[in-house]
Symmetry: D2
Subunit: 400 residues, 4 copies
């Protein structure tokens, strides 16, 4: 057992850290300005392209992708880098082409795509020439139960016809998003986990109707393409657009979720670290009743509790990454569920405390905290709500 | 001891309940539409006027005001009515002219205003012909510590000259807001709690500059006039605009806070009740893995925990109201602090659970939950943060 | 609505308060000495008799019993008196003949007993000439599910034959305990809630075998008769010893539980108040690192949190009592479950904090805290564990 | 970074695991019997000697001691072994001569003892021919603040004279305990952390008076020598009995605490694992209302929450051990404080849940849970209470 990171991780982490402090954090006000200057524009703002160019020049590109197509890092090596990008969830992941949902989509295409599909979609995604969305969640059912999916994908000659309603297709409000990976049922009579398939639907296919943007606690997340509700109204794509095999949709979704969940947790820890750094700075500067916040018992207690939670959970995330690397995602299921449950809840507590440290500024847009809170809060729902994972993990433990 | 409400309370509660269900809740989508149709307009939307007319016709008007100027209710009688308005914080209080910050401002004017001040400002406020704001909080200091207030109110002949920067002046983004009650220091060298005074500043006085709207978790609260940052740049008002006495500002602010805090708590309980009602409905309609949510252990547990918290805290709020009525606000300080601490935190837990019941819909604008969460979260900061009250309450207990 | 206690309650509370401070609290060290002096003696210690005589002389006797047989108090009137007895759970309730399980047993005998049964058992219990136990819980089954009870009560001519194993028969280790009220199945084939009956079994009946005393966190509770495991080995009693009707056992047990649960909650609040009083005293006397505990943030926070929890829950207990008085125990079920869930958990948190205030003394017998903790902890299990009540309460709410 | 234990650790863990299951756990009922058979005897029971012989034969001896005098293991290697001994805190550590307070005392003697002191005391301790106690805590002061220590160690010619009152001298009730390491002030006028010294006081020295045994939640812990209150009444020892240097007491105490704290945490995790294993077994066997506990939502949730907490905190303990091995105890201070705060609190929550799973059996001596709870609860006080460490850790973080 050894808790020291390897040389490549250490080196990359330094580069990412420098990039974060020198380029990304100072670009946040620019992003805000560019968003304010173009109120109805959902395309990515110019600052994103600028940062991408710089990131690429530094070799900070596609770090999430384990194969030779990406940086070839293990999950364990990627973890501290992803954490650093969580300090600026709005800019750092997208700047380094490591942002969801493109990451998961690239993984799917890399693993299950045909050469033609890879050429059409994976290559431009790896180059960040286009963006993509993942259309699984539906408004009418509890999407944690895949058997309830209502969207139909019906074969009709050489085409698939997609009919259904999706929402929370993150990124899909942006015209930069060209590809929707859509999950639906090809065979509702098959065994429970073999009913679903995925098809690749170009966003400009006739019948694709972007209904509206959704908000998360009042935020439209326009900086990364928002969250769309989409109607698929007899949308036709050639059969070549099937991803993987018919009936393979559920298995592919599961394969996609493992890395997705751990990436979210890694970044969430970075968010917590930034919040804590902000709290520390504020506590040194402000006083009430003649005493600096940093010398008040409750502030010290909050900082200490937060520190302990972060340290313990980071180790659990790292161990999970190590297990995924050494025994595979399936055998790391207990750990993946554990961090999926524990990290966003802990980060929520930490953000709640830090908001309290900042007072009214904490809930406003003058600090990044409220937006962080909103984004993190939705992690407790996305990819399966806390209680589904708790029940599943508990069941597995009781079976042993 | 008797836990049954009196006849007048019962009767009024039924009227408010009917008004809420028949008029207010159905008007919420109308409000959303009217807001969407006039994106940059901060004036109150037409639906508010419609509801006001109906409320007034029902006798549901100025119920908060204890004197003959209002409905003449005790705090204990008002409590369940205020709770019901908390089901729709966006519309019910304003419809019944019981919305902060006007309520506190009317109380100040009724108690400390000269006849001329009452004629100019209290009368139109009681008629809801104008709105008002309260400018106390400042961006540069911890406003829970009144001694830190930076705004200066300097006498110059027959005028006061106000200089300073305020924020979180709720309502002041709206042109309907005509009056700002501004707290500042008239004598920085006086005893700590006699340095502050309040002056009445018409919003259109030269030198008043509305800098920008603030957001709460992404919400601009445009439906009730938003929250403004305001610069007072050598703003001159006649000395007649002094409210109360020079040096009386701190005491008046404290007097204003007692009722304000209990009103917030009453309404917060109504918010929690509505959330719980929504959760109950949802839990009956949705199923996961073949089992209705309403039959799943964790949902039952959440509902039970929420019910117990609401019941216990409602009683504490009612007892606080009773104490304010019978022994006065000062002697009810422990109880006022208790509910100020406990209610918003409990409501936050409840809203967090109900958001989880709703999944992704819970954080979106399709349900009122996320906006409720944001509003309630800010109660833990407004009028003194949790930890200031905890420390003060603990100190008082340890002294006994 | 009115939160002021009536005159009789106020007067009695003053008397009980005086009795507590003048007689009971000073008697605790005497009790400890008398216990130490007679290590294997399970009879009540002489100090108990002394206190009883004094309590009776003060009119503090059988206050729990609502009928003319007792003090004729309502639940609402009894509540603050019971709370005061909770300051010294070891001595105050027994001194005033208001101690479980005799209270519940007296209620059963008063309501369901025949005149002969009342003469034989109720009278001596009312006089505190004997003690009694209630034998319901069994080691082999989850006793919150009455359908699982294994003890058989078989009719054989003019006798009932009782066979089974019980435990947690509180008080039954003491030779002063003369009567066991035993719950068992007379008809395992009847409807689920009509299988059970209760019989009166004198403790010296042949076949009654006291197996062993049980401990609660290491405490044998010898001061109030301990907790016995008992085997009933073909124990024969005359049919006249049936309490109520055959098949009426479940309903009688439920009737018994309502008041029992609220009494426990009332006393638990008194326990919490005493703990808080001890913490306050300690915090004023001790210093660490040059600062009195009473001026340290965390101590203030604990005291404040505890105060708020006690105040809110006391009101819920009082309202529950009022409901039991006005609409009856059945209609007060939600409230009874609410306090059963919430009070012992809150008191546990409070005791845990106060133990921490006392450091090592807190877990020792030098302070009453650890024993209080143990007693209170078992309340979360007795009369149905937390989670059974949470599930039941949640289910009822979701049904509405 | 690598999360796999090394070969020696794996091998030793298997041996300890076998020893635990084959020898230790089956010996617990024997220990209970032997304790019951000799009610006033504080010497170690025969079963301990039997187990020691077996442990030694297996090479499971003095594993805690890093130097060649012990097993030569690193902290990281020892951690999983210590955890396993925590499954049976009453027997496993003592059987393997890895029980506090002897472990800390042996470390002190090994590091600071003279050859003569080592021959007299360390050798017999390493052989388990004698036991020892550590007398630091005092009843009259908050012992987390070393400056408050009241015991005086006055030099008088060739002797030191010790005067003072100590308590919580764990093990000292047993006649097997021969050595007391006593902390006191040699120079109250020196700098704050140079006032204290330690002397070796044979337990049979004239003037040493064992006042009484203390209890922890009703447990006297007679199986491992109890906890003594001791008066030192002009106790004279030769100056050769000084441990280390005059004024070096505080530093030695700190040096002793680092390993002590991590050992406690390691074992506490084992305690939690055993509790969880018991809960799992119980949940499979018991049913309520026709449903096995293992299929009830709340039980699954508890098990899942407990699993996550254990996994995260075990990693933090292991990393702390690794830091102690690689950068030293001082630089691992933040992590040592973190686990000291977090582990006992988490284990308390887990034990509380498991007690609830067991119902009334959980608080009794039929299950080890209540005794585990009592022991673990005292960890939140021993070696500095939670809040002292929280404040210290928070202060350090805010300083960075």
């Amino acid at each position: 057992m050894d808790f020291a990171p390897d040389a490549r991780t250490t080196e990359l982490a330094e580069t990412v850290h420098r990039f974060l402090y020198d380029q990304v954090l100072p670009a946040e006000p620019t992003l805000d300005r560019q968003l304010a200057d173009a109120p109805d524009d959902w395309t990515f703002r110019p600052i994103v392209d600028e940062l991408r160019a710089k990131a690429r020049a530094e070799g900070l590109w596609n770090l999430f992708l384990p194969s030779e197509r990406g940086a070839g890092l293990t999950n364990l090596q990627y973890a501290p880098l992803a954490e650093l990008t969580g300090w600026s969830q709005r800019l750092a992941p997208v700047a380094m082409n490591c942002a969801a949902p493109d990451t998961g989509n690239m993984e799917l295409l890399a693993e299950f795509g045909t050469p033609a599909q890879q050429e059409s979609w994976l290559e431009p995604l790896l180059e960040a020439r286009i963006r993509s969305a993942f259309s699984m969640t539906e408004p009418d059912v509890a999407s944690s139960d895949a058997s309830q999916i209502g969207t139909r994908i019906r074969r009709d000659g050489d085409e698939y016809v997609v009919t259904g309603r999706k929402w929370w297709s993150t990124g899909a409000m942006s015209p930069d998003c060209r590809l929707l990976i859509v999950m639906g049922k090809t065979d509702p009579d098959a065994a429970r986990h073999q009913q679903q398939s995925m098809v690749l639907v170009p966003r400009d296919t006739p019948g694709v109707r972007i209904v509206r943007p959704l908000t998360v606690f009042g935020y439209d997340d326009r900086d990364h393409g928002g969250h769309a509700e989409i109607v698929f109204d007899d949308v036709r794509v050639p059969v070549e657009n099937l991803l993987g095999t018919e009936g393979g949709g559920f298995a592919m979704a599961q394969a996609r979720l493992g890395p997705g969940r751990i990436h979210h947790c890694m970044r969430a820890l970075g968010t917590a670290e930034r919040a804590l750094a902000l709290a520390t700075e504020r506590a040194r500067e402000r006083s009430t009743f003649g005493v600096p916040l940093s010398e008040q018992g409750v502030i010290r207690e909050w900082v200490a509790e937060s520190r302990v939670e972060i340290e313990a959970l980071r180790l659990l995330v790292l161990k999970t990454a190590w297990l995924m690397d050494t025994v595979g995602n399936r055998k790391a299921m207990t750990e993946i569920q554990s961090i999926k449950i524990a990290v966003p809840r802990a980060v929520q507590r930490i953000l709640d405390r830090v908001i309290q440290v900042f007072g009214a500024a904490g809930v406003s847009s003058d600090q990044p905290l409220a937006e962080m809170f909103a984004g993190n809060r939705s992690l407790r729902i996305a990819d399966g709500p806390d209680e589904v994972h708790l029940a599943s993990l508990g069941r597995a433990q009781l079976r042993r």
